[in-house]
Each structure stands twice: as C-alpha cells, then as structure tokens.
Subunit: 475 residues, 2 copies
C-alpha cells in the first residue's frame, strides 16, 4: 500500500467516524465498508502495483443513494472516488488521498433493451459482457470490446472511453453513447441526451462526461446505441517478415476499403511470450510480426471475397500465407494468439505499458521510436495492440533490474517515447486515460492555457473539487 | 431589420469608431466592413425573417488575425458573433446585439487531404461541397450532407453539429471530427485532438466545441475523418397508403439490418408542394406518404439483393411497388422529390420549421402530436425529414393569416408540439441548434440545474461573455 496524498492538499478533509455513521444511516450498514481488511478490495485497480487505502467504501443501490453520498461529501469536503470494476490501467479509480470510494457494483440493472429504438439502457455497474450477451441474444450488437470485457462495467467504460480491437471500425465507447444519467458533485441529477439519435440541445454534456474519468460527475446510467448483429465474421492472421512491413500494411487495409472490424498487431517478442503459455500455429513460427484482422458483415461469401483481397494485399507487401477461419472455433483459436499477449507479458516480468497512439501513417516511425527509447535505457520493449487505430501498447520490461534502476530507466524511456509520439502528431494516451499515472505527462500534450481551461471546466462541475481528486491534472 | 438587444444587457459595449480603426489597423481596411449597406450581408441567416445589423464585420485571413480580433474584443468588452455561410436555421449567426461579426470566409484553405491517414484538414471557411468534391476525387468520402451543403461552410457545420439524410447511417458532423483548432475568447489558441483516431488525453474539448454554436470559442480549422468512398449506391422510393404506415416502416429497416445510408420521409402535402414546381413520377400520385431510402456499399449486386428485401418488407407493411434506381441519373431523379421539399414549402407560404426529434419507435406518435397541435390552432402542418433518425421537420404554414394572428397561433402550436416531443422522450432540436430562436424553449428540455451548469461551462471558456451573446441560454 502506497502512502496517501493528504486530502488537505486538495482542500479536502479525511473521513471521520461520524461520517461513516452518517453513511451507514443513509445507505444501511451493509452498504458501508470501513474495516481495513475489507477496504483492501477497493485500494487498487489493474495499474501496476499501486494501492491506496480509502477511508471508507460505499455501495449505493440507487441513484438517490449516490446523490445522498455526494451531498454529504460536498457538505463535509470529503474526497469521493467513483469506482466501477477496477480494471483501469491509468489509476483512475485509485483513492490516492483516501476518502470515500463510491462503488457502482449494485447499480447493476439493465433497465431496457429496446429492439424498436435499438438502444440499451444500462446502469453503471452492469458488466459489459453481461450486457453484450443480453443484447446479442436478441440479434443485436454493442461493439465496444476492451480486453477486460468479461469483468469491466459500463460506468468505467464511459469514464475512460474504453475501446478495444473493434474500435478501428466501430469507434470507442463514446460513439455508442446517446445519453447519460449522472449525479453532480452537489448531489443534483443530470440527464443528458437520451434515446433520440440526434440532439443539438445546448452543449453536449454526454460527450464531455464520456472520458472524464470520474472527475466531473458520477455516471449512474447510460443510453447506448445498438445495431443489428453482423451475421458473419471472418478472422485472418497475416504473417510478415518484418515488423515494419506489418505496420506499413495497416494503413493500406483502410485505403483499399477492406473495412476491417479489427486490425491488431503483434511482434515476435509478444508471440514468443505467448508461446511460453501455449504452442503457436506452426505457420507463425518464422514471422517477425503478424496482423490479426477481423472482417464482419451479413454475407459470408462477401467476407471470403474480401479475405482474398486482404491476402493479395498482404502478399504484395511481402506477407506470407494468411491463416483464415470463418467458423467460431477456428476464429477463437486465431484470436487466442492475440488475446493471450497481455497475460503472457505479465508472466514474463514486471512491466510498464505505454498507451501510445499516432496517426496510422506514422506507425512504423512509432515502432522505431519505441525501440530506440527502450534501447537507449537498455530496456526491452514489447509492442502490440490496436494498430488499426494507430494505437500500440508499448510494454517496457523490468527483467532482472533492481527496482530503483528500473524506475529510473523506465521513466526516462517513457518520457523519450512520449516526446516522440507527440512529435509524430500522436497523443499520450489512446484508450487508457490520464488518470493518476499519466498526469505528469499532460503538459507534453496540452499547453498551459489548455490545461488551465480544462481546470476551469472541472471547477464548473465540481467547484469544491471533491470528485476523484488528484486525477488528470498535474502537480 | 429587427431592433437589437442593447449590448449592455450582456455586460458588453457597442463598437465605437476607434474600435473600427483599430480593427482596420489589425486586419487591413479591406477586411473590415462598416458601411451600413455592406453590413446588410451580415445581418441575417436562413432563419425566418430575422435580421440584426452588426456594428462591423471583419474577414480575418489567418488564425493570428482571428486572435487579434478576439484580444481587442475581450479588452474592450465587445460582442463577437462568429459567422460561416449564414445558412443556419436557429439564428446562431445573428448579431442580436450588434457588435463584431467575425466571418470565416477567408479561412478557406483545405490544408490537407491525406490518403494514408484518411483525414482532411480544413479551415472553417471551406465550403462543404468543395471539400467533398476534393475528397471524392481521391476516392474518399466525408459523409455529412446537410441540405445547405453547396454553400455551407465547415465552421458552421461544426458549430451546429450539422447533419442530413446520411446521418442515419453515418452520424452527424461530430462523429467525423477528430480534432479542432480554435481561438478562445481571450485570443489564445486551443488545439484539441488531431489525426490520431483515439484520444483519452483529458476532457474531450473537440466534442464539446462541436455543437456549441460559436459561444465557447471560434473554430478556425478541423481535422475530419474520411473513409473509402462506397463504390455503389442505390435509391429506392417506397410509397405507402398512410403516413403512419410509412413512419412505422422506418424502425423496421434498422431492426432488419438493412443499414440504410438515408431514410427520408415525406407526406402527401409535401409532395403536393413539390408537384407545383415539377411533375412527380406517376407511381407516387396516389400515395399518402413515401420513404426515400438510400443504400450504399461496395457491391452493386449486394445492394440489389438488399433492395429486394427492402421492397418485400415495405409490401408486408402495406407499401406499394418501390421505385428503384442504381444509376446516377435515376437516383438523382428520385432524390429530387425529397430535395425540393424545402424550396417548395418556401414557395407556398411563410412558415416556421420545428426541428423535432424522437426515438424512432415514437415517430407515429410524433406525427399525430404535430397534426393535433397544428389543428388545435387552425394551422396546416407539413411534415418531412430525416425519419431514419426520428428527426422530422414540422413546418407550420402562415397561409392567409394576418401576422399577429399567425405569430400567436404559431407559438402556441410550437409550444404544444415541443411539449409532446419531450413527453415522447425526444429533444427540442435534432440538428438546427438552439441558437436564438429556440432559447426560450430550453427550460422544456433541461432542468434549471442543468442550464446553470451549462452556463458555468460557458463562463469557463468565456468569462466576459463576448462570444455570441444571447444564444442558447434563455432570458
């Protein structure tokens, strides 16, 4: 457990015993957790090894209970850290100054799946996979697919604007959010947007709240756009002799109108890491890198025709024979190589993942920059991710280095890497958010004036600064 | 010309002769217009008959010149009204308290069309049709297609989040904006987003500025996402025996996965208005309403197969034989019926257009409510529009009524209509914006607290309130 930032640093106060009693009287004692050993479960997320113990965790079961917690916190100047499943990768859910963790687990109702309006209304605590299963059982489709989809919750997806492989065709979570219901820092209720598919009524607060990392309001429910589920999918794995050839092929898929639903890249070192967990298909043994491409549509024949164009394109760029599957089991096997990389990297070494994103045409340069930055510090960089969006996860590995040496080299490599990313017209996070761990990098991406403006927006929503203090903003 | 609101009402001041001289010294005299007769061109937009004369109009030729104008205005507390092509339908560009009209006409450079990154970078003054032509010449596609596309400009498209028929598949302008460059009220420069296709770096100011109607910042350029141009399109006109049957068919197209690129509705009265301008195809003579459906894709055969499914679906819902065209000339002829409605309505009578939008499943109820609200005031309502988005333009006609009587009845009908829209889960504007003419209706759509929050956001960007005063907010 890390040392907390004193809440006074943010103009806030620690939670006292009387606050816990008041929370118990508001929500019932079962919904309020204050025993240190039970609080452990609310101390961390999936970000490195960081853990901060909150003073108390609450599990409101209704929007009104969320509002009651916020009214108390606003009156008493207590930090409130909204938490969904805790699968975040930038520390957005870490209670860095203690305070109240507000967990949305019990706001877990799918309020509606409407086949006529093609929308789902889901509360913040609904698990993404559960929602998708319910939606797909009706022949409908909600595309966002972050790696954590089996456990992550809708509230967290909105807070971080989660994305995944399919965002290269379908966009990140934000593109699917028609409306949100949220509770403001003063406990009042905000409803933005709704089931209408167009809305020009004042500022679009829906789109502002998506990606705001729990710093502007507590999202309690969302209206999500659905589409008819594509009737067919096809997966192709394309091996390439060099990483640059694989990366260079990516932009061509889009220019040629092959319209991939996913376009993922993995380099040799990532494949080798997976090979320690399970044998790879022999056809992949010799390739320096591969692309996993998914196509979807309503006509299986058309997908096969597109797969042939894909194969021809890859070969014209130096690629080897594509592995193609259009049955469910075969596709699962091909995806497995890509899906196990995260786990495989974790099993190799302590690591730090940089969520780089650049314009697609700069992918090759990004890879060169990442390797150079790592090499300069004597570190290994392992690259994979959502190449179709120009979004690569650069994993720096600790290996055998002592902690202090690792931290020094890691920070230096990361800084060099992100400077290169910005110089390539990229952004310092594509889908993980700024949260806690990237906030010191914000001045690389935004000017002083732009950061000041973002702080003013924060103040407009949360003048006392009780919501998720310490996140996004540096210093 | 209408009577202006005194700028002092907004805490601002009128433009004095010395300000005009300073503007002339900043931009050169040719870029500063202050003769009353030449100012006429900046007094109105396409909103009813409203006209307000500005004190001065400026035509900056660079971002730096925009910044210089704003610095002067901020220092001297002068109103600044950003203006693109003046094709808006809610009075967003009206200089209601005089001041400086800042026209972006000369910021008209397409900075880049990049086939590798699939983006266009266009300045605010670029005419949409010019951009689309340049993009399509390279086999690429920028979908937003407001009715004004031949003359409207990118800056206005972003300010109002313009949409059109194709938004039912492709979404409104906002879905295509990856980044914006803007000048803030204090003259400083804001760059949000860029060519990267994902971005989780702080609050998404790109999406906040889109649709903010010139009240938060002056957008000077945008980075727009492009896709490969669909290789084939097909247009079908589906006649129905009742308006309700046509409206009821709309939701089914989406549920069945027919994925229309456009789905427009027109009722008999709208067709009759068009028939006064040109003969209609005989097959449409007897229908009470029709849908114009466009399909697009890469495979003409597949479109024909989809058109057959579309025809079968329409017939199963009581529709008559579909008119189908997949050649350019034939499609143009079919679209002509829909495209001339706006002009045809104008030629009938003075009218007021209500930009209603409801969840798709409520379209039939919307139509009933619109007819009832009009009938209760003895007015004719003529309905048409973007049914695929649940977005209908309800045109109330003045006919032979005296002005004062017309205004009374129009306002009463409009209020009843919008109350019904909100009760149906709809919004008081789908794509025209709140601007000047809808601001009194905002309290129907947003709570007092929500309006107060929106005002705080405005203050965060523009603490002196110099940007487009009087717009969006009531009172």
């Amino acid at each position: 457990v890390s040392e907390r930032v004193p809440p006074e640093r943010f103009g806030l106060r620690p939670v006292a015993a009387r606050h816990v009693r008041e929370l118990e009287s508001l929500l019932g004692p079962a919904a309020v957790i204050s025993e240190p050993d039970r609080l452990e479960a609310f101390a961390g997320d999936e970000t490195e090894k960081l853990r901060f113990l909150p003073d108390v965790a609450v599990l409101p079961a209704s929007v009104e209970e969320v509002a009651a917690v916020l009214r108390l916190a606003a009156r008493e100047l207590l930090p409130v850290v909204p938490r969904a499943a805790g699968t975040g990768l930038s520390g957005g859910a870490l209670p860095v100054c203690g305070g109240i963790v507000l967990a949305v687990d019990r706001l877990d109702r799918v309020r509606a799946i409407d086949e006529r309006d093609l929308v789902a209304e889901a509360e913040a605590g609904v698990v993404l996979a559960d929602l998708q299963q319910a939606v797909e059982a009706r022949g409908l489709f909600y595309p966002p697919d972050p790696a954590s989809r089996e456990t992550c919750r809708i509230g967290g997806n909105l807070a971080e604007d989660s994305a995944g492989p399919r965002s290269c065709k379908y966009g990140s979570t934000r593109r699917w959010v028609l409306g949100v219901e949220a509770v403001l820092a003063d406990g009042s209720r905000l409803v933005a947007g709704g089931r209408s598919r167009k809305d020009a009524t004042g500022y679009n607060l829906t789109q502002l709240l998506v990606g705001s990392e729990g710093t502007l309001a507590v999202i309690v429910a969302a209206t999500l756009r659905l589409i008819a589920k594509p009737k067919a999918t096809l997966t192709a794995v394309l091996p390439f002799p060099t990483l640059a050839a694989a990366a260079g092929a990516v932009e061509r898929l889009f220019v040629e109108g092959l319209d991939p639903a996913a376009c993922e890249l993995a380099e040799r070192a990532a494949l080798d890491a997976v090979a320690r967990l399970e044998p790879l298909p022999p056809a992949l043994a010799a390739s320096a890198a591969l692309l996993v491409v998914e196509l979807d549509g309503d006509d299986g024949e058309e997908l096969l025709a597109r797969a042939e164009r894909l194969d021809a394109l890859a070969r014209s760029l130096g690629g080897g024979e594509a592995l193609v599957a259009d049955d469910a089991a075969g596709q699962r096997r091909l995806w497995q190589v890509r899906r196990r990389i995260g786990e495989a990297v974790k099993s190799l070494s302590v690591y730090k993942e940089a969520d780089t994103v650049v314009p697609r045409s700069r992918l090759v340069e990004l890879i060169e920059a990442a390797r150079a930055a790592a090499a300069r510090q004597g570190l290994t960089a392992l690259l994979y991710g959502h190449a179709g969006d120009g979004n690569l996860h650069v994993n720096l590995l600790q290996g055998e280095l002592a902690d202090s040496e690792w931290e020094r080299r890691r920070d230096a490599a990361e800084e060099e890497l992100f400077r290169a990313v910005v110089a390539l017209g990229g952004r310092i996070t594509g889908e993980h958010g700024i949260g806690w761990t990237q906030r010191h990098l914000l001045p690389m991406a935004l000017s002083e004036r732009e950061i000041a403006l973002q702080r003013e927006i924060k103040r407009a929503f949360d003048p006392k600064g009780i919501l998720n203090p310490g996140k996004i903003f540096p210093g």
